[in-house]
């Protein structure tokens, strides 16, 4: 189980970098769905023995992060008829480099953090890398929808960190967190839909009427 979890965590980093490097919004969403599936496997692989808690957390994660949210985002791009992320604020090559830098930085930070109980040494560095890459996507992309994807990757990074505490944090809390993420993205999706209708574009840099 140990090496399987390690493999899954490495695949999570790859999915981060894949989302960072792709120009097509649909591949972006596919990368996100794959990441959601990987995150759903982790509670099962990390639990010392299979428990109701681990199984229900895995199920909830897969349903929300790998099925419902990607499906909803895919619906949104179909409705809005957008395909590509054109001219991000930071170029694709540059953002790939930034992503690599984030991964290196994450490992450097994690090696210096005092970890109380390390069950899976890769968990914390991968969580930090995912967090930073999510932040890069969120801040350097113009399309409102890609920003939602960035936010979800950021959220996934935090979820990974939360897995270090599965036995200390009760199920109800995880449920609440999942529900909040779900409703949050749902509302964001509705707003994205309206941005598209009002401005005839999903470009959030056009939202510039309100300034001082």
């Amino acid at each position: 189980m140990h090496s399987a979890a390690q493999l899954v965590l490495l695949l999570v980093v790859l999915s981060d970098l894949a989302v960072l490097g792709t120009t097509r919004l649909s591949s972006c969403i596919r990368g996100l769905a794959a990441q959601g599936l990987l995150l759903g496997l982790l509670p099962l692989l990390l639990a010392p023995q299979l428990s109701v808690h681990a199984v229900s957390l895995a199920l909830g994660t897969v349903v929300v992060k790998a099925i419902v949210l990607p499906w909803f985002l895919a619906w949104a791009i179909r409705e809005a008829a957008v395909r590509r992320e054109i001219e991000p604020l930071v170029g694709f090559i540059a953002s790939q480099l930034l992503g690599a830098l984030a991964v290196a930085l994450a490992f450097a930070i994690a090696s210096r953090l005092p970890l109380p109980t390390v069950r899976q040494p890769l968990l914390v560095p991968v969580s930090l890398a995912t967090l930073m890459i999510g932040f890069i996507v969120l801040t350097t992309r113009r399309k409102a929808l890609t920003q939602v994807v960035g936010y979800l990757i950021l959220e996934n990074g935090i979820y990974l960190f939360g897995l270090t505490h599965t036995e200390r944090v009760p199920f109800l809390i995880e449920l609440g967190v999942l529900l909040d993420v779900f409703v949050g993205v749902f509302i964001m999706g509705i707003v994205v839909f309206h941005i598209n209708r009002e401005f005839d574009s999903l470009d959030s840099t056009r939202l510039t009427e309100l300034t001082d």
């Binding site: 970890l115 969120l138 270090t164 200390r168 809390i173 509302i187 707003v191 309206h194 309100l210």
Partner: protein
């Protein structure tokens, strides 16, 4: 039981309003919302009379600070609903159930934040406040409100995500230390055994995360747009109640950090954010032409004062908690009367308004009084609380902090007075006729003004008692 009811009553009513087909259409079930608001306030009052025991294994409890925030929220909510009766006679939102459901969901989420003693549950409640308010900001469904909603959602979501990470850091700090995980009293009791490095990281992330929701500078960027574009009653609820809940989040982690003996680490950070917020507010208030955006920057200022008082400690903590109450009530008051201006003339800008004392005598008078209250002039409550924070700076041996604070408050006063007096006084444009002001629209602000005035002159015994105990939990003292 009552603690559970305080959260569950608005939650289930919200779900019913959003779910049942009978609430479809544009009609807002305002009577139902008013009944829930009144029942909520009655329940909350009963918590004052007979303090309840913690329920759900210590997850829900009403400690002095939480009860203060809960009562503030409940009072503001009832006033807002009374105002909404008059508001809805003039404006019809597109969807009645989004309006009523959003308001009720906000009340449920804010109550959960106020009562949560499990810090992860506090996070869940805090995120729910963001989500319940977003559809209300977008109520007008035009381009400007769309832009404001998007900015609000993105900035708050990132902030709240950082707060979640901070909560997990706190769980890391707790590690294998005795006590139930993430339960506030247990964290405080065993604070000295917590891992200091993780605790510091947790403090910083929670401060930045919940600070984003408070609107502390430099995470305040969503605030002027959101308060400017949201309907005034929603802005008032956000500036009065939602920011208070966010401050509660910051206060909770400060409580743990102080108990752990890391006060000397936390205090300079809090003071830094406080002074920066005051400075940013002062810069942007000068030359502001829209009253609602002006009030948003004033809210940044007051959030700065809250963390400044918390950082100064001593009587500053008491000043901070008192200021929380004063600022919440005053913000509700001024936003609601600004809403009357918008209802009458279509905007709250200097360009569209002049001589309001002639056309809207009651609202304009309340607006001018509100200007003095919000800027901390005597005899209003905000003067007392700001003065207490100032005293903490001087007593603590930080005369330069006191000097900077006074300078910023003076600049803010001038900036606000220029705009508010400019639209209230003078001759109205020829041809404008006085507007009849519905009692529904002025009763709430008058009641809030009366309370803020009373708090400046006399603080009732039970309130003083609870504020003093809240301040003591934060490591401070009552004056």
């Amino acid at each position: 039981m009552r603690l559970l009811a305080v959260c569950a009553l608005p939650l289930f009513t919200a779900l019913a309003v959003l779910g049942f087909p009978m609430f479809r259409g544009r009609r807002v079930p305002v009577t139902l919302v008013a009944v829930v608001a009144t029942t909520h306030l009655v329940l909350v009052s009963s918590l004052w009379l007979a303090p309840p025991r913690p329920t759900l294994g210590g997850w829900l409890a009403a400690d002095p600070l939480g009860l203060t925030v809960l009562t503030l929220t409940s009072v503001l909510f009832l006033v807002t609903v009374i105002y909404a009766v008059g508001y809805l006679q003039r404006e019809k939102p597109r969807s009645g159930r989004v309006f009523a459901g959003g308001l009720l969901a906000f009340l449920a989420a804010a109550s959960l934040v106020a009562l949560a003693h499990h810090l992860a549950m506090l996070w869940v409640g805090m995120e729910a406040t963001t989500l319940s308010v977003a559809p209300l900001v977008f109520l007008r469904r035009d381009r400007r409100s769309l832009e404001a909603t998007w900015k609000y959602l993105v900035v708050s979501s990132v902030g709240i995500a950082l707060a979640l990470l901070g909560t997990f850091f706190l769980a890391s700090a707790q590690g294998d230390v005795a006590g139930r995980p993430l339960i506030l009293p247990d964290l405080v009791e065993h604070a000295r055994e917590l891992h200091p490095a993780w605790l510091r990281a947790a403090f910083l992330f929670l401060l930045v995360g919940f600070g984003t929701k408070m609107g502390l500078a430099p995470m305040h960027t969503w605030k002027p747009d959101t308060y400017g574009e949201a309907p005034s009653l929603v802005s008032g609820l956000m500036a009065g109640a939602l920011t208070s809940c966010a401050f509660l989040g910051v206060a909770r982690v400060t409580e743990v950090v102080t108990a752990a003996g890391l006060g000397s680490f936390a205090q300079p950070v809090l003071i830094g954010f406080g002074l920066l917020s005051l400075a940013v507010a002062a810069v942007f208030i000068i030359g502001q032409s829209d009253v609602k955006r002006l009030l948003a920057y004033s809210s940044v200022e007051h959030m700065g004062l809250l963390v400044l008082g918390l950082g100064l400690g001593g009587v500053g903590a008491y000043g901070s908690v008192l200021h929380l109450v004063n600022n919440g009530l005053a913000k509700g008051w001024v936003f609601l009367v600004t809403g009357n201006v918008v209802l009458a003339t279509g905007s709250a800008t200097a360009a569209g308004n002049r001589g309001l004392v002639r056309t809207l005598p009651v609202s304009a008078a309340l607006l001018v009084l509100g200007l003095f209250a919000v800027t901390g002039s005597p005899p209003f409550g905000l003067f007392m609380s700001e003065f207490t924070i100032l005293r903490a700076a001087i007593d603590g041996g930080h005369p330069w902090i006191a000097a900077v604070m006074l300078l910023m408050l003076a600049i803010i006063f001038v900036g606000m007075a220029v705009l508010v007096l400019g639209i209230a006084l003078g001759e109205p444009d020829p041809g404008t006729i006085p507007v009849r002001e519905s009692p529904w629209l002025v009763a709430g602000p008058i009641a809030l003004a009366a309370i803020v005035l009373m708090l400046g002159v006399y603080i009732p015994g039970p309130l003083h008692d609870i504020l003093a105990r809240a301040a003591a939990a934060l490591g401070g003292t009552a004056p």
